[in-house]
Symmetry: C2
Subunit: 140 residues, 2 copies
């Protein structure tokens, strides 16, 4: 299976990280400011990017330790892929394991997505640790 898989430690409580990956206010502060996001299983969130790209994510699962999306519209290589955020409490901190999987083929494009996701996860980490992320930036 072709999978992008990143893990990182965030020096913030799980509740804060959960907010950042489930609530519109949180997602807009580290990923993209232009979005319509809901936080209920079965609902669809839309994320738009400055490049003109967009994607629609159906929320498959939303629980405090695992958030799971399926891409149902957007870039052709993204449609049918799935994303999970797994959250685990570690002392007063949170371990986040992020997966973007079910890609049809590996390519330079999936390699770019892997690189850019890591930069967005830095943005998520900064948001949770300092209150300020860097949405809409693929590379710092």
């Amino acid at each position: 299976m072709i999978e992008i898989y990143h893990c990182l430690e965030i020096n913030a409580p799980l509740k804060k990280v959960y907010w950042a990956v489930t609530e519109k206010e949180g997602l807009s502060a580290w990923w993209t400011k232009s979005l319509d996001a809901d936080n209920k299983a079965g609902s669809v969130s839309t994320f738009r990017f400055k490049s003109g790209a967009f994607n629609k994510m159906k929320i498959i699962n939303i629980s405090p330790d695992k958030i799971e999306w399926e891409c149902i519209d957007g870039h052709s290589e993204w449609v049918g892929t799935q994303i999970t955020f797994e959250l685990r409490k570690y002392r007063e901190r949170t371990i986040v394991c992020f997966s973007h999987y079910n890609w049809k083929t590996q390519s330079e494009y999936t390699g770019e997505c892997s690189f850019h996701w890591a930069q967005y996860l830095v943005s998520l980490k900064k948001l949770c640790e300092t209150g300020s992320g860097m949405p809409d930036e693929g590379v710092k």
Copy 2:
């Protein structure tokens, strides 16, 4: 196959990126300052980190479009893994595809390595584009 795979564009000529991933001076300016590196096929380079970790990389292949290492000593999960840097000229810039593969199992540890490699690749990019990288830093 379990593989970390990142691609990025660097706004610098291929020759500069090649220098950064093959010469001791280059490697020490974006990955780790403490190293003994050679640049001939069959030679072994040693990279040491502030955490006390180290790894020894045997140079399997070294050509302008592909550099290939095999880890022959160091962290037990790294031994037997291989790393490639594939370089491609794109206009006046360079596309770098980095792969770290042949892992025995996927785990939180490989996820952390994926995340940290992406930050070191940001360091490589900054070194090539501005003359100044951020060696010895896993996360900015």
